[in-house]
Every structure is written in structure tokens, then in C-alpha cells.
């Protein structure tokens, strides 16, 4: 009777022993874990090593080539001339403009992100916590181009922002801002202010998540102890919360900074005709056909990010990721 009962179960608990080639292979892999490790690592490492590192290397190599100014052909001999071109005033302007924008965007994201992250970490519970999480996650994963497009709709001269300010009788404020040098322009969608707003909007979730992760680890009684000892909320923020949140802010700033440095689509769609690094790379390799200069330009964000990551690591930002 027992055997019948056992046989009637559809999935036996113990599987039949496999023999033959498959069994032998399994035995070999069990006895030699190094071989198994090698087999597991080989496909991803080959893929990333050849496709990605190979391409990066090819790119770096080309930055040491130069372009023949008359024929437009690429001269495949080692030279530092292309890096010399990079130091022309116009190119330095582009680099300076991009780095300034990246720094401002990072600063603004940190300021806007902090209250959201702090509320989510300290006060939101249960369903609210999930809601906050999704509230950050959905914009993070929403289509990048759609987000930019949405801002084109908002910032357009006939768009919702002008309408709203008109209703509030604040149009003079907008006009005053647009008449300012550098940050102003014909409308917000063709000004640095517009570029700045869109950058902040698109990268903000990348800042919120690590800051929240850092704040989650701050024990609540630390804040209470600080106020019990007589600190004002401002002092508590400056001396307790901010230092503890700093690794998270630095971790988030890695994203906001790096993403702003390399982006070429946002300033192209919402912005002035003055170039950012990404646009310079794009136009050098595309219309100008000057791949060596484009390659040299890409080295700039790599070097800046290298220093940035080095500094961030010293501040302990990677533990907050």
C-alpha cells in the first residue's frame, strides 16, 4: 500500500541519478570548483572585456591620433596635438560651462532631495513608505525622452508655466528673469535656466535614493538626544543629520555629476546654442568627422569622474550606495 501511495505522487522528492556524460561533467565540476568558476566567469568577462573594454581602449587610442586639416583624413600616428587642440579657449569654455552646470545641478538636486529622503526615512511608515518608494522609482524609470518632452511642453512660451504665472500676475518675474544675461533668453525652453531645470528634474531620483539610504541608518534617538541637549532644529541638522547624510549626498552626486557631464540630448532640445561636452563630442564625431578630438573630449569627463570617485571613496560614499 505504501509503495502505491508513493508512486501516485506526481513529483518524486528524490530524482533519479543521472549517469553518462552529464553525470561525469557534473562530477568534474564538483571536484574542481575553480573550473566551474572559470566557466561561469568566462562568458560575461569575455563579453564585457571584448565589447566594452575593447571599445573604450580603441577610443582612447584614437585620441592620440590626429586629423589632417586639409584632407580631413585621420593620421594614425602617435601625437599629443589633439590634446593641445582641447586647450583652445573655445573648448575650455565648453568644459568650464559643463562642469559649472554639473556642480549647480548637483547642489540643487541635493537641496530638493533632502526633505523627500528625510521624510521617507524618518516619518513614512507602511503604505506611505511604499508610496514614497514608488513615487521616486516611477519617475526614475520613466522614459528619459518623455520626461524631456514634458518639460518642452511646460517651458514653451505658450505652455503651462507662462499660463500659470499669468494667472498669478507674476509674468513680470518671468520676463525679468529672461532679460538677465547668461541665464535668460527668448523663452525658458531656449535658456540655460531651462537646461538647468530639466537636468535637475531628470537626475533628482538618483540623488534621493542614496540620501534616503544614508538617512535610514541614522538612529532616531540621535536626533532626539541632540534636541534634549538643547540644540535647535537648525543646529541638529548642521551638526548631526547633515554629517551623517553626507556620504549619501556624495554617492548621489556621483550620478548627478557624471550624468550631467555626459549628456548631450537635454541641452540640445532645451537650451541655447552654446555647447556642452556631450554635444561637442557628438558634433566632432558626427558632422565634423574629427574622431580624435571627439575621443580626446570624452577623456575629460573620464578624468573628472576619476578624481571625483577617488574623492568620494575617501569620504566613504561607496558604503552608502
Amino acid at each position: 500500500m505504501t509503495t502505491a501511495a508513493l508512486n501516485s505522487t506526481s513529483a518524486p522528492a528524490v530524482l533519479p541519478r543521472t549517469g553518462g556524460m552529464r553525470g561525469a561533467l557534473s562530477d568534474i565540476l564538483w571536484r574542481r570548483p575553480q573550473l566551474l568558476l572559470l566557466l561561469m566567469l568566462l562568458p560575461p568577462v569575455l563579453w564585457l572585456g571584448i565589447v566594452y573594454i575593447g571599445s573604450l581602449f580603441a577610443l582612447l587610442l584614437q585620441s592620440f591620433f590626429s586629423i589632417d586639416e586639409f584632407s580631413g583624413l585621420i593620421n594614425r600616428e602617435f601625437t599629443l596635438k589633439t590634446y593641445g587642440d582641447l586647450l583652445q579657449a573655445a573648448n575650455l569654455d565648453i568644459i568650464l560651462r559643463t562642469v559649472t552646470m554639473a556642480a549647480l545641478v548637483t547642489l540643487a538636486s541635493a537641496i530638493i532631495a533632502f526633505p523627500i529622503a528625510y521624510y521617507a526615512a524618518r516619518y513614512a511608515r507602511g503604505r506611505w513608505k511604499a508610496l514614497f518608494y514608488l513615487g521616486v522609482m516611477l519617475p526614475l524609470w520613466s522614459s528619459y525622452l518623455v520626461k524631456i518632452y514634458a518639460w518642452k511642453l511646460i517651458l514653451a512660451k505658450e505652455g503651462i508655466l507662462t499660463w500659470l504665472l499669468g494667472k498669478l500676475n507674476l509674468l513680470w518675474l518671468l520676463d525679468g528673469w529672461l532679460s538677465l544675461p547668461i541665464v535668460g533668453g527668448n523663452s525658458l525652453s531656449v535658456s540655460f535656466t531651462g537646461t538647468f531645470i530639466v537636468f535637475v528634474y531628470v537626475w533628482l531620483p538618483f540623488m534621493i535614493l542614496p540620501v534616503q539610504a544614508a538617512l535610514e541608518r541614522v538612529p532616531g534617538n540621535l536626533v532626539e538626544a541632540s534636541s534634549d541637549l538643547g540644540a535647535s532644529p537648525g543646529q541638529t541638522f548642521r551638526n548631526v543629520l547633515f554629517p551623517l547624510a553626507l556620504p549619501g549626498i556624495v554617492a548621489g552626486s556621483i550620478f548627478t555629476f557624471s550624468l550631467t557631464l555626459g549628456d548631450y540630448i537635454i541641452p540640445q532640445i532645451i537650451g541655447t546654442s552654446r555647447l556642452f561636452i556631450g554635444q561637442a563630442v557628438y558634433s566632432q564625431q558626427g558632422t565634423a568627422g574629427n574622431i580624435p578630438l571627439a575621443a580626446a573630449f570624452t577623456v575629460v569627463p573620464i578624468v573628472i569622474m576619476g578624481f571625483y570617485l577617488w574623492g568620494a571613496k575617501r569620504m566613504g560614499a561607496f558604503d552608502a550606495l
Binding site: 580603441a58 530638493i112 516611477l138 511642453l153
Partner: protein, 271 residues
């Protein structure tokens, strides 16, 4: 951090947090309104009227369908490749400690840590050097490279929670390596892989910066949208496509969230 339950947030903090969340969401909601506007030439607000005719117009546009089909095929194949590579890498990194382990993690993360334009131009110049013509596979090559990291992140988090003694128990009971993988490891990591796969799909479906360098003349949905943004042809169609794209990327994210929300690490927290 945890504090007294009864304590409520200061008003200023509540307002700042609420404004921040509104800032993140209102622009996306606006897309849904514009998909129904009757205005054809400008972005005028408020919309002069509402209509559903643009959905029909978009439905009959072959270029939109072609772009959609290409995007889906690229995303599906890139996701499949990323699933295999990401899982292998995660298994290797979490099971054993070996020399160069940190380097492997860095290698996986690098394609997404460096600005997309660098990945893009690096791939394009490599294709040019090797005389590889642009094709469906050049797009897949780029996409799979940066999709590996999302699968990897999800799988590593799950492997960390899966006890290694289960594998040993399975082996002790006489299962071979393949049986252990099929009956013990796979059921444990399945939802993490599903979540990672969906995020990878969403990432690939949405990618534009690398794709502009590897697509040549082909149009994925994001490239189609970029063209429309730079040289608008029919704005209402763009509005409708934008709305559909939001919905298409929204669903995988919500699903991935529900698949992994019980864990300590939730999918998608690092794009």
C-alpha cells in the same frame, strides 16, 4: 531609522517633501493631457479642446509600428543575453571569493557608471575600426552590455539571501550539479531574475544615447521620438507615442517592484 510612532513631521518638512514629489510627477501627468489635445501646431495650454482622433492617426502610422517592433525585438534579445551573462557573473561573484572579484563587479557596473555618450562613441569607433556595418546586432551589442548590470544587481542581492547550505544539502542528497541548479537554485532566484529581466527590458526599451551611435539609419522608439523632438513633423502623434511609452515602461517597473518587495533589496533602486 526609527522613532516614536506618534511623532509627526514638522509642517515645513511635509510641505517640502510633498512639493518635491509633485515636481517629480506633474510633468509626467501632463503628457497624458497633451495626448488628447486638439491643437496641432503648438504646445498651447490649456488645450483648446479634447479629442481621441490622434490615437487612430498614430495607429495607422507604419513608421511608429516599425520603430516599436524594432525596439521590442532589441529589448527582448538584449534582455535574454543580459540574463545569461548577469546570472553567471552574479553566481560566480557571490559563491566564491577569488582574486579580482572586485574588478569583476567594477567591470559590470562600468558601462552604466560612465556617461552613456562614452559607451556610445567607444562602440561606434570600434565598429568603424573593425569595419562592422550597422545592423540590428550592433544595437543589441550595446544594449546587452549595459543591461547586464541590472540583472547582476538583482541576482547578487538574491544570492546573498539564499543560504549556501541548501545547495550542499541538495548535493548531499545525491543530486548532481545540474539537478541542483534546476530544482534548488533556479526556484530560489527565479523572481529576482524575472524582476531583473523586466528592468533590463525597460532600460533597453528606453535607451537613446548609446543607440544613436549604434543604430545607423534604423529607428527604435526613442530614436523616433528624438527625431520628432528635433524636427517635429506631427506633434499630436508624438504626444500619443509619449503617453504609450510611459505606460509601456511603467508596467514592468511596477511588476518588478511587486516581485521583489519582500526582500531586503528592492529591484530598480539603482538604475
Amino acid at each position: 531609522m526609527r522613532s516614536d510612532r506618534g511623532q509627526s513631521a514638522p509642517l515645513g518638512l511635509k510641505i517640502a517633501a510633498a512639493c518635491g514629489l509633485l515636481f517629480l510627477h506633474l510633468p509626467i501627468l501632463l503628457i497624458f493631457v497633451y495626448a488628447f489635445t486638439t491643437e496641432e501646431k503648438s504646445f498651447v495650454w490649456p488645450p483648446p479642446g479634447l479629442t481621441t482622433q490622434w490615437f487612430a492617426v498614430t495607429w495607422n502610422r507604419p513608421d511608429v509600428w516599425q520603430a516599436l517592433s524594432l525596439s521590442i525585438r532589441v529589448a527582448a534579445i538584449s534582455t535574454a543575453i543580459a540574463l545569461v551573462l548577469g546570472t553567471l557573473c552574479a553566481a560566480a561573484v557571490s559563491r566564491t571569493r577569488f582574486f579580482g572579484r572586485e574588478t569583476i563587479s567594477l567591470l559590470v557596473i562600468l558601462p552604466i557608471a560612465l556617461p552613456g555618450i562614452i559607451t556610445g562613441i567607444a562602440l561606434r569607433s570600434a565598429f568603424a575600426l573593425a569595419d562592422i556595418p550597422f545592423s540590428f546586432w550592433t544595437i543589441v551589442l550595446g544594449h546587452a552590455t549595459f543591461c547586464v548590470v541590472v540583472v547582476y544587481n538583482n541576482a547578487v542581492a538574491r544570492f546573498r539571501r539564499t543560504s549556501g547550505s541548501m545547495i550542499e544539502a541538495s548535493m548531499d542528497l545525491g543530486a548532481d550539479g545540474f539537478q541542483t541548479f534546476r530544482h534548488v537554485v533556479l526556484p530560489n532566484i527565479a523572481t529576482a531574475l524575472l524582476a531583473g529581466g523586466m528592468l533590463a527590458f525597460a532600460l533597453s526599451f528606453d535607451e537613446v544615447i548609446v543607440t544613436t551611435f549604434t543604430a545607423g539609419q534604423q529607428q527604435t522608439v526613442p530614436i523616433w521620438m528624438l527625431e520628432e523632438l528635433i524636427r517635429p513633423r506631427q506633434r499630436p502623434v508624438t504626444n500619443v507615442v509619449a503617453m504609450v511609452v510611459v505606460l509601456v515602461t511603467l508596467l514592468p517597473i511596477l511588476l518588478a517592484y511587486y516581485l521583489t518587495r519582500d526582500g531586503d533589496q528592492i529591484a530598480g533602486s539603482g538604475k
